[in-house]
């Protein structure tokens, strides 16, 4: 075990330190990869073949292909070429803070006016979080440096969409290179995305059951709007004109099965609920996450629902404590069984693609795909789930996902089997652009390796500085805010900003386990003393704020 960790961290270090750097050329070069083993995915592997890449496309592929005179030749002897990997669900490239405007919230209004609902210019009648018209495309930021880590891990494309709200918005398939947003886009919109997480703004729905009711009401509203629009188009006389509503307009293609709808659902019952909703409205559904999808494989197959299966396998994160309850056996079983889900889906004939599922280290993607192989999935099926199957689910199989003539030149080249631990990714091509792995060189002692993105992570557990978007879980009325923490050694300063105002961090201390501080908040004319305790794990913050009424939990995420 220890050895694995050690070897693994060496691998990571190598990736970070000697990351693939883009070749300097702006113009796409012509390449020929020769003598390589080519895993085309769409057909049988070519044991010793040539791939010619020109103008960002695969010009030709095969054993007897002629190498053009103007091509830069890469000797692929001992190397294997795969189609570039597609991460089937990410939020790559999205600006982390997409502050949506305040809009009206009348669509689901029952009787009580929401005080903050301003009658704005927007033509949506639905509150934030229930706005399916949001598009990932519009939130993308340009620049290929941001993708370096994932590209180094072999990924050339991804489906990307926000994780905010019940409707996450409409996703886009992007290439993980390109200096402008338009150069990155392969297809937009691809699908609408749904997360069954209640709104945290205090507006309906604040519960899981409310979430279902809200979705149902919107689907019905959109059905009705479409009906009236048709009547009105035929003859408007005598009919009150149907109002414009951007949100409902965005639902109509979903109801017409023109746009698939991705439901984030992991457990068996979450998946069943999503399938029931899809059936109720005859939606073209896709399940994302799917940890327990194997248990409902037959239903997925019957409803022709593909799965964007997360490779972020669950593992225990909680430390041991004598006074803690033992973990439920269902949870222990779930962790043991999750790597087998892919094999079960394959066996049942359910189409699936792999996604990173928010994993902290993208290097785990291929390692966990290999775990799925150890648990009964064929190697070919595993590779397909990272390439052509994803492309098929997203309707881009004529451009991506396999090594075929005329397709986009997204390729990953490795020394050794891509699923093996000792593989080495040597080249990645995105849109025909080469990102080359430099040979690892041992760093001279004493020098510090920095990455292009500057994302150096210190190992100390008690590194808590940063800006966090937090939610304070006041029962029934969660309060969102920003916590800014500045750490100097074990001293902590900063503030907490909520709609109650800004509270300054006092007596801030960082301990090996977390942090603590006191603060005050003005509320109802009096000053309330708060004691805050928390901890930071990765980019997650959590803890409690204790006031005269007892402790209130809070949690949040670090803004990058």
């Amino acid at each position: 075990m220890k050895e694995i960790i050690l070897r693994f961290s060496v691998a990571i270090f190598a990736l970070i330190s000697f990351g693939l750097s883009a070749s300097a050329q702006n113009r796409a070069e012509t390449f020929a990869i020769t003598n390589a083993r080519i895993v085309t995915v769409s057909g049988a592997p070519i044991e010793r073949g040539i791939i010619v890449i020109r103008d960002g496309l695969i010009e030709s592929v095969g054993a007897g292909v002629r190498v053009p005179a103007d091509a830069r030749t890469i000797d692929g002897a001992g190397l294997t070429v795969y189609p570039g990997f597609i991460d089937a669900l990410t939020n790559l490239g999205l600006s982390s803070q997409t502050v949506s405007q305040q809009r009206g919230g009348q669509g689901l209004q029952i009787q009580i006016q929401q005080p903050q609902a301003s009658q704005s210019q927007s033509s949506s009648n639905y509150p934030d979080g229930l706005q399916p018209e949001q598009m990932a495309f519009e939130q993308l930021k340009a620049g290929e440096a941001q993708f370096e880590t994932v590209r180094n891990a072999g990924f050339t494309s991804a489906l990307t969409v926000s994780r905010e709200g019940i409707f996450n918005g409409q996703s886009a398939v992007i290439n993980l290179a390109g200096d402008t947003v338009s150069a990155m886009i392969i297809k937009s919109p691809v699908a609408e995305h749904i997360t069954f997480t209640p709104l945290r703004t205090g507006t309906f729905p604040t519960s899981l059951m409310g979430t279902f009711a809200a979705l149902r009401q919107m689907f019905l509203d959109a059905q009705r709007l479409q009906g009236i629009q048709k009547m009105y188009a035929k003859d408007p006389r005598g009919i009150k004109r149907p109002g414009e509503d951007k949100s409902l307009e965005a639902v109509i293609p979903i109801l017409n099965r023109e746009m698939p709808i991705v439901f984030n659902a992991n457990t068996e019952r979450e998946i069943v609920r999503a399938l029931n909703l899809a059936k109720e409205f005859n939606l073209n559904a896709i399940i994302a996450g799917g940890q327990e999808a194997g248990k409902v494989a037959d239903r997925l197959k019957a409803q022709k629902v593909p799965v964007l299966l997360s490779l972020n396998f669950p593992k225990r994160t909680a430390t041991a404590a004598a006074e803690a309850d033992p973990e439920p056996i269902e949870l222990l079983r779930l962790r043991a069984e999750t790597p087998q889900t892919a094999a079960r889906l394959a066996q049942a004939g359910v189409k699936f693609a792999f996604q990173s599922g928010g994993m902290q280290n993208i290097g785990d993607f291929l390692l966990n795909a290999n775990k799925a192989v150890e648990r009964g999935l064929t190697r070919e099926a595993a590779i397909r789930a990272m390439t052509l199957s994803a492309a098929e689910i997203f309707g881009v199989e004529n451009r991506l996902g396999s090594i075929e003539r005329g397709k986009i030149a997204n390729l990953v080249v490795s020394r050794g089997d891509i699923l093996a631990k000792d593989k080495q990714i040597t080249q990645v091509f995105v849109d025909g652009k080469l990102f080359e792995q430099k040979l690892p060189v041992k760093p001279a002692a004493g020098t510090t390796a920095t990455t292009a993105s500057g994302a150096t992570q210190t190992s100390a557990a008690a590194n808590v500085g940063g800006t966090y978007a937090i939610t304070i879980e006041i029962p029934g009325q969660p309060l969102t805010g920003t916590m800014i923490l500045t750490q100097q050694g074990t001293d902590l300063t900063g503030n907490v900003q909520t709609q109650l105002g800004t509270s300054t961090v006092k007596d801030g201390k960082v301990t090996p386990d977390g942090f603590s501080f006191t603060s005050t908040v003005e509320f109802g004319g009096s000053t309330i003393e708060l004691t805050v305790n928390g901890r930071v794990t990765g980019n997650q913050i959590s803890g409690t704020m204790t006031g005269p009424q007892g402790p209130i939990p809070f949690s949040g995420t670090k803004n990058p």
């Binding site: 005080p115 519960s207 059951m209 409310g210 009711a213 005598g238 803690a324 056996i329 222990l332 794990t537």
Partner: protein, 472 residues
């Protein structure tokens, strides 16, 4: 290789566990022999057999004949009762049991969030409970729609709802709807209503809107009938549709409340709109208005004790059930708690002590009476020929403090078997040990999150629960 072997072993263990979990897939004939049968309708029958065919009680009598492939259960010295029905439960629900945003949330339904693997239903089966009324919480004047289920633990969620149970809905009166969302957060207007007056106005307003909605639907249909091409269908209002069903007598109202004034008010409001309240829930002061309740045919579903456990319950007395029963009210005893649901038999026994409700009537309060309140008494609630075989076999009279459910069956299938449960524990322990040895189930060497330490407060216990602001 070693890893593979361990894994193989694990698979076998999982399979074994699975086999233990799913009892009796086929609906074979079952004969319960020589029991004391407490029918909850026709008195107690000594040394009696019950023959179960196709999940139904086919025959009740002495020395019944069994076919050769019939499963025979010897219940000599044991007591058999109908399965217990809990008329007020929040088991099986994922997420909040309250949709806090509005005070009228009739558009939500507990059916959407059921968790068929909730361990509390297995524990309820071990306490002889076979069916329950799964209600929305009490934070809202008009809460969400209910689901009446049978606890078919181990089955898919679709198998749980009782298909022919009339739909229902939760109402709530008094402190819970009026105090929800207090103290108010700055920047937010406190949620209306804040008084008992306001609660009644909120409910009345909802019904007035429902009336208008029904009228709009009628107008539309009339236009369509006249072939009016400009007829536009009214927006489907998921909030108002269930209220229209109440007005049309198609949906049962289960109204949470404590004080007699608020209980009477909701009955008067129902008179005004021409429907019947199916049950008053909790209703610890119902004894004060017993004749008024009886006159309307409204049922009452109570706790047997909890006298004075909060301000609203200060006038509660132990004789509530007795007085209501004496006045001809259909009384049931509920748990509102994943913990109390396991011993509703003892709660029923208490009403024998306080006032002297006869034994059979007391037992009915956890079987036939709640079945009637939920509109499922045609199929369950008593041991009668033709009813579903929802049956509990006890080692002693269920009103004894020493009573244990040995076996609980629903529609003739065993969903709890104490002997099998005991026998399975070693296997489960071995499975746990194997699983805990896996890397993924080990605590991390360094870093990691804090483990969950059990709370000193008991979760989800009745109306004073901590988990959901106390609104159950």
């Amino acid at each position: 290789m070693k890893k593979f072997t361990a894994f193989f072993l694990l698979q076998i263990l999982l399979l074994t566990a699975f086999n233990f979990a799913v009892f009796g897939q086929t609906k074979k004939e079952v004969l319960i022999r020589n029991a004391t049968v407490i029918t909850a309708i026709h008195g107690n029958l000594e040394n009696t057999d019950i023959l179960i065919q196709n999940g139904k009680i086919a025959r009740i009598g002495k020395n019944l004949k069994a076919a050769s492939n019939t499963q025979v259960i010897d219940a000599s010295g044991k007591f058999v009762t109908p399965g217990i029905i809990d008329c007020h439960s929040h088991a099986m629900m994922d997420g909040s049991v309250n949709e806090f945003s509005y005070s009228v949330t009739s558009m939500v339904t507990t059916r959407d969030i059921l968790n068929p693997t909730d361990i509390s239903i297995y524990r309820a089966l071990a306490g002889g409970v076979t069916a329950a009324n799964l209600l929305h919480g009490s934070a809202n004047s008009i809460g969400g729609q209910n689901t009446v289920v049978k606890f078919k633990y181990g089955r898919a969620v679709e198998d749980f709802p009782v298909a022919d149970a009339p739909p229902g809905i939760k109402f709530a009166l008094g402190e819970n709807p009026k105090q929800t969302n207090q103290p108010t957060q700055p920047g937010r207007t406190p949620r209306y209503p804040r008084t008992r007056m306001g609660v009644m106005e909120t409910i009345r307003d909802a019904f007035l809107r429902a009336r208008d909605y029904r009228r709009a639907l009628d107008d539309y249909r009339a236009k369509v009938d006249k072939k009016d091409k400009t007829a536009v269908a009214p927006r489907r209002e998921l909030e108002l549709e269930p209220l229209v069903e109440i007005l049309e007598g198609k949906r049962l109202v289960h109204s949470h409340g404590y004080r007699s004034d608020e209980l009477l008010n909701v009955l008067l409001l129902a008179d005004e709109f021409g429907f019947r309240v199916a049950t008053l829930q909790h209703a610890l002061e119902a004894y004060k208005i017993a004749p008024e309740i009886a006159k309307r045919g409204t049922g009452v579903s109570i706790f047997t004790d909890s006298w004075g456990y909060k301000l609203e319950a200060f006038d509660a007395i132990p004789y509530n059930a007795y007085i209501l029963w004496k006045n001809g009210v259909n009384v049931s005893i509920n748990s509102d708690s994943e913990e109390r649901i396991r011993r509703l038999n003892l709660d029923a026994a208490k009403v024998e002590k306080y006032g002297g409700v006869p034994e059979e009537e007391a037992l009915k309060m956890i079987t036939l009476n709640p079945a009637k309140q939920l509109g499922i008494d045609k199929r369950t609630g008593s041991i009668e020929q033709g009813k579903d075989a929802d049956i509990v076999i006890w080692n002693a009279h269920p009103f004894s403090v020493y009573a244990r459910a040995d076996m609980t069956m629903i529609e003739g299938e065993v969903f709890f078997d104490r002997a099998k449960d005991l026998a399975n524990r070693d296997a489960l322990q071995r499975e746990r040990e194997t699983l805990e040895k896996l890397d993924i189930n080990r605590p991390p060497g360094s870093g990691g999150t804090a483990p969950k330490i059990p709370s000193e407060k008991r979760q989800a216990d009745r109306d004073e629960a901590v988990g959901d602001g106390g609104n159950h």
